[in-house]
């Protein structure tokens, strides 16, 4: 039991921090531009693929740096030449545009890299068990993921609160008109933030690719969960995204690890088993099966009880 709890917490932390790497960029972009970037997870996927291809030539470590930079540049281009044009048609049009970008990116990934999954491997330098607890090993690569995510969090936090550029970004979040009046080029700030957000998503892809798999559906797998994180945490709130990421990461990991079915639980409570055939499906539902639903149930509950999200200050 301790083993399950310990490793679930650890794995939940890793998964949660990965979610945070994605959701931080997404929530920053939303906070500044009011755009919920549907294609955010697509940039995460492109990051993994680019790093895989670069890694074959120049190795994992240079690719770790280069891939996010390239994908960030791609994101900036999409903002400059696509999103900015659609901006005047309103937020729903922007959401529709990024939805189209997500489709096109997924198709292009299949065009270039094909449909089967790529064997993107954990680098040899990190392919060893870090420590053994309760008879199970904890891989060093997961610890590395955790370190990268925490470093990124600290980095973003310092930039946003301690530098001049961060102050301008923060001011643009709430008072874009005033910032423009002071002589800053707000559209360019938007473009840079969009590019950085996409770059961060790509970084998440680079380090998650070897663990979660590098395949054309990887954007869809994580995309919706990241939206849940951002909405539950409160749209535009970085600290909310952080808390919600860890919450959902741990919640999902625990649910997967537990293997009790509804029938088992009810039997434990003294309810007779095997009721009727109509309830058969519900009876044999296990907690692990419910795991994929959990984030969405959480989203619906949060939106009903606290529409602005856990840490959000505004509703739209």
């Amino acid at each position: 039991m301790e083993q399950i709890v310990f490793f679930s917490i650890l794995n939940g932390l890793v998964f949660g921090m990965l979610l945070f790497m994605l959701s931080s960029g997404l929530t920053l972009i939303f906070g500044m531009m009011g755009v919920l970037n549907f294609a955010h997870a697509s940039f995460y996927m492109v990051g993994a693929y680019v790093a895989y291809t670069l890694g074959l030539r120049i190795g994992f470590w240079p690719a770790l740096v280069l891939a996010p930079v390239l994908v960030g540049g791609l994101g900036a281009l999409v903002e400059r030449h696509g999103l900015r044009r659609v901006h005047r048609f309103g937020h729903v049009a922007e959401l529709i545009f990024t939805f189209g970008v997500a489709i096109v990116i997924e198709e292009i990934v299949q065009l270039v890299w094909g449909r089967p999954a790529k064997s993107y491997q954990v680098p040899a330098a990190l392919d060893f068990p870090l420590f053994h607890v309760f008879g199970s090993a904890f891989p060093a690569y997961k610890a590395f993921m955790l370190v990268v995510a925490v470093a990124m969090f600290v980095f973003i936090f310092l930039i946003l609160t301690r530098t001049r550029a961060g102050l301008i970004i923060q001011a643009s979040l709430t008072h874009p008109g005033m910032v423009a009046m002071l002589g800053h080029n707000v559209p360019r700030v938007f473009m840079i933030v969009f590019g950085i957000g996409c770059g961060l998503a790509a970084l998440a892809g680079v380090i998650a690719g070897p663990v979660l798999g590098t395949f054309p559906g990887m954007a869809q797998v994580l995309g919706s969960v990241v939206f849940v994180v951002v909405v539950v945490g409160g749209l535009g709130s970085l600290s909310g995204a952080f808390v919600a990421s860890l919450l959902i990461g741990v919640l999902q990991t625990f649910a997967v690890a537990l293997n009790a079915s509804v029938g088992n639980v009810l039997m434990g409570l003294g309810v007779p088993a095997g009721a009727s055939a109509a309830l058969h499906d519900i009876w044999k539902v296990t907690v692990a099966q419910v795991a994929p639903i959990m984030p969405y149930l959480l989203l619906v509950v949060v939106l009903m009880v606290r529409p602005a999200g856990l840490f959000g200050t505004r509703e739209t």
């Binding site: 696509g82 659609v86 729903v92 939805f99 198709e107 969405y296 939106l303």
Partner: protein
């Protein structure tokens, strides 16, 4: 311009005339549509035409119901296929029960079952989905879609797991002795329901509640001050959209006789957004165009290339960026020119620009297909069939040709585009035609 009042004696006759002309003018489009639906299978006689038209009919109902949300209510849903799929599953189960003699349900009434199913689930999920508009609504619809996708894995009695629910329309009781064994018989059944559903959805958009839905889309605060609860208005629109999505699902069930969880997945919801937007969300007829184009491209392109969704995606992005009014909206922009009888002057510039656009598109398609051949599907010979010829992707020549096509088309469009725009502005200018 208002006609001068007629002399008293002539009035009754004149009124009757006006009324008769009014009937034709008001319902002429619908009568023409009904006539077209009736003669279509006798006009288009190629092999796969009728099954594709059946598919189009289902897509039309689905896209129209989607536009009740997006176009008329301003709600962007990423989970509209949920109501399509649930309606379809309920219809399929109902048909199976009817086939076993469990209830009297003739095949023609099946879409009604689907519609009621869609309505029931929309009424349930709408209670929390419609409390907010805009981005939050979109997110909740996405969450509901994911919830249903995950639930379909759990409740495999209802959703049939991987292989889905199959049904058989031949076993159901007959109504007026009508059988549905051949494609054409099914076509007329689907055409009937498409017509009925389209009329009903158009009528809904003309009712006070349909009008208020537009008001809530444009300015919810003001609608509240007039005395309408925006939540309630959105809820009613949502339920109506769910009803017709369910009708489309019921049509799907009786046409294909199988439903899988994929039919209510995210990709199905995305497809309906694509087709509706390409057709145009601002006009009632837009989704009809979109559904026809999307289904046509889907069934035609998938014969030639595995990347049909990429091309449709690019078309969609181009629509969002350069023509957000969609195809129907573009056509409506030409109404003043049509009334001023100046449409003919646009033909020249449009033909030039359209031809150049086709050249550029051919170049892009050629390059994409060749990239695909080189990277993924390389045959040992390096040969690839493209545009009625065979090219060898290992030689330089085809790359040069297609790059040249892209360049020529793009440069030409830079020259022809502004000219077409000028011609358009000229043709739309009010007042008499300039020499």
């Amino acid at each position: 311009m208002k006609a001068a009042p007629a002399p008293a004696a002539a009035r009754p006759l004149a009124v009757a005339d006006v009324a008769r002309a009014g009937v034709l003018r008001r319902h002429g489009v619908w009568l023409a549509a009904a006539g077209l639906l009736i003669v279509l299978p006798w006009v288009v006689r190629t092999g796969a035409a009728v099954p594709i038209m059946n598919q189009m009919g289902i897509a039309i109902v689905f896209a129209l119901s989607f536009n009740m949300l997006l176009g008329q209510g301003g709600m962007l849903s990423f989970g509209h296929a949920v109501y399509f799929g649930l309606g379809g599953f309920l219809a399929a189960h109902a048909l199976n029960i009817a086939g076993r003699g469990g209830l009297y349900l003739p095949v023609p009434l099946l879409p009604l079952v689907g519609g009621l199913g869609g309505l029931a689930f929309a009424a349930l999920f709408g209670t929390f989905s419609t409390s907010r508009a805009g981005t939050v609504f979109s997110m909740v619809s996405l969450a509901v879609a994911e919830l249903m996708a995950a639930s379909s894995l759990i409740f495999d009695r209802f959703f049939g797991g991987e292989e889905g629910i199959t049904t058989n329309r031949a076993k159901a009781p007959l109504l007026f002795g009508l059988e549905f064994t051949r494609d054409r018989q099914v076509y007329y059944l689907i055409a009937f329901w498409v017509f009925v559903a389209a009329v009903a959805m158009y009528a809904f958009s003309r009712t006070p509640i349909g009008r208020i839905a537009n008001a809530v889309r444009d300015n919810p605060e003001r609608a509240e001050f007039v005395g309408y609860s925006q939540r309630r208005v959105r809820y009613i629109s949502f339920c109506a959209a769910g009803l017709f999505a369910g009708v489309a699902g019921g049509l799907f069930a009786l046409n294909y006789e199988i439903l899988t969880a994929e039919n209510m997945g995210l990709n199905a919801s995305g497809a309906v957004l694509l087709m509706t937007y390409i057709g145009g969300i601002g006009a009632f007829v837009g989704p009809v165009f979109g559904a026809i184009i999307f289904t046509f491209l889907q069934s035609m392109l998938s014969d030639y290339t595995g990347m049909w969704l990429l091309y449709i995606g690019i078309l969609f992005l181009a629509t969002v960026m350069w023509a957000p009014v969609g195809l129907a909206g573009l056509m409506m922009l030409h109404a003043p020119a049509w009334r001023g009888r100046r449409l003919g002057r646009l033909a020249g510039p449009y033909l030039v620009a359209g031809g150049l656009g086709l050249v550029a598109a051919a170049g892009v398609i050629g390059l994409l297909e060749m990239v695909h051949t080189v990277l993924i599907a390389e045959s040992s010979t390096g040969l690839k069939r493209l545009f009625w010829t065979t090219v060898n992707v290992r030689t330089v020549m085809p790359w040069l040709v297609f790059t040249a096509l892209v360049a020529a088309g793009a440069l030409g469009l830079r020259w022809a585009g502004p000219r077409a725009a000028t011609a358009f502005a000229e043709a739309n200018r009010p007042g008499p035609a300039q020499p």
